[in-house]
Amino acid sequence: MLETDRNQLHKLVEEALPELDMVIGWGQSTDSFQTTPVFVRDAKQISQLTLGPFCSQNLTGYLVKPPALDAAPKEGAKPIGICVKGCDSRSLVALIQEKFLTRERVRIFGIPCRGTVDWNKVGKLVDLSNVKSATVEEDVLVVDDSQTTHRIKLEEVLARKCYGCRYPNPLIQDVTIGEPATPRSTSIESSYRDVDRLDAKPLEERLDFWQSELDRCIRCYACRNACPLCVCQDKCIIESREPRWLTQRVGIPEKFLFHFIHAMHLAGRCTGCGECERACPMDIPVTLIKEKLNKIMEERLGYSAGLDVEAVPPLLTFNPGDTEI
């Protein structure tokens, strides 16, 4: 099935490439299991494109981050092709909604997603230091570590965000590759289980939890830079000296404030793609912070980001009849 889909993708990209500036997709990294973003500018590169549960990166950020592409197509500029999963498509919607991109600027190769692999989880079951090959057979991940062949149920090693995924199929796209996927979640409750689990703990335990988690933060800003909606990039106030919100210190208060800033700037905008958490080298569940805010937005203001290009993010508007306190 994967093979068919991949062939279909190659064929579609091949057809479209002459009209496009490039196609951003996933390809094999230098190791035998992870993918890396590839930028197909030349037909020779098309064969690099792959898809499937290893394609974890959300590529939409590349559309708006430096070296930046202009939101408004310049005279004669060709659109950019991009491969998106369901969650990635929400980021794309949000970027179009916030006018960082126009819909015409992108040619969207939509890929229904059955979940992406979290290699940290695989690493708990298999020694990943010398993987020879990793493949997917239906719903099983097959990892050959040059001594044994491990067969792991995909369902056990998916990224945390996937278990609460309500939108596995791209919400905007020009073409679809493969069959639609079935959502793993259809309700608020089942989408925010991890949030509820932490919320169920006493306040002190929550503080302890975040203190010990955020203690590991090394302020490398991978979470921020991986976020497709962290559009400030080089102008981020976490580093800015004018105004100056934070010092260079690496005490827990600084890390708390850093993550508060990140979260508050995404409040009502975060599409829950989980890139921040995936990018974190220190395995801090940073997406969870944003998930809580997403839940608040959804429950209190009936808003989920990245579903509607016409919608106004809830904190950029108001309703005189809003309830309070």
């Binding site: 990294s29 230098t30 190791d31 035998s32 992870q34 993918t35 890396t36 973003p37 590839v38 930028f39 990166q57 950020g61 590349y62 981050k65 430096p66 070296p67 940290n120 690493g123 708990k124 990943l128 230091s129 010398n130 993987v131 988690e213 590991r216 090394i218 302020r219 490398c220 800003y221 991978a222 921020r224 830079n225 991986a226 990039q233 080089d234 580093e239 000296r241 010092t247 260079q248 210190r249 690496v250 890139e275 995936r278 990018a279 080298p281 220190m282 395995d283």
Partner: protein, 354 residues
Amino acid sequence: MAVKIFIATDQLDSVLEKLATKIDLWIPALLKEDKSGPTGFIPYEPGKSPVFERQTTLPTKKLLLPQVETLLRFEYKKDPEGGSTSSIVVDDARQVRPTLVFGARSCDVRALITMDRVFSQGPYVDPYYVERRKNTFFATLVCEQNDSKCFCSSVGGGPADMEGSHLKIVKLDEGYVVEALTKEAGSLLEGLGEAVDKAKDTKAGKIVKEASKRIVGDLDTKGCAEAFRNRFAQNDFWVQMVSQCLSCGVCTYVCPTCYCFTITDETQNLKGERMRSWDSCMFSQYTLEASGHNPRPTKLERYRNRVGHKFSYIPEKYEGILGCCGCGRCIRSCPVTIDIRQVVGNLKENSNEQ
């Protein structure tokens, strides 16, 4: 005759506990209660078991160059009558305690060659670094767990490379053979562990020998300095190489040899401190000039600098030393799996094409 002891696996904790009474002891450990979770060096605490099975996520760098360190404290003194500032009192008194890192790897220690060259061998000597360096000892594990991202042999090191180490640790099935490589280090081992019997010694020797023979990594760094110079202005090449880059600082922060820092003063009312903290050439602020101009405006220039710094500028400036220890951490931690080996390898590939 070098001091050499054997520590049985079940004795490790008690030996470390004793060792910790003699010197500040740091061990590689889990930073999260999760056996595949991130690891780094932490101060030894009884009962805390060291993680020797895999390379740590974070290197030993912070022991010599902390992420943030206070260089000095200062206080403005005011004339109680007139109110204007009349003097400033500066306090940069330092006190560095001897520290032993138990369970470093050869790559971690190899990185010190670069660090030493920059911080202690002139033209500018950094007293903060030098003092720590003098007081920090490394007990280095002969490495058997290199993975697909390691390439220490490619940059002049190797799994059993003991250059710069003070103690050598060889892990056997039943325990550890620890050998002092310097006299000073030998005194640390006094009264600890058991004598090493012949069988164990032989076993350890065999392990070391095998490790020494192992070639880790197949990157050929010869001529890369020059290749880089040739590639410098080839924008297309760099666009190809760094399109994925997110411009985050992971690679530099997990790197044992990235030593760039920034200095800031933090003042509250009349008191303040001057701090030195890690900086990263991946960040825009790194080269941002006061005028607002930034000579490295995009990730292209920034990533190019990182590669150039490690494989061209440092070797050309410092007698051929590379700015890379081949630990592979930047590859492992990169959110978009950029592989510096591939970039360096490509420097030479078809470099005459354009």
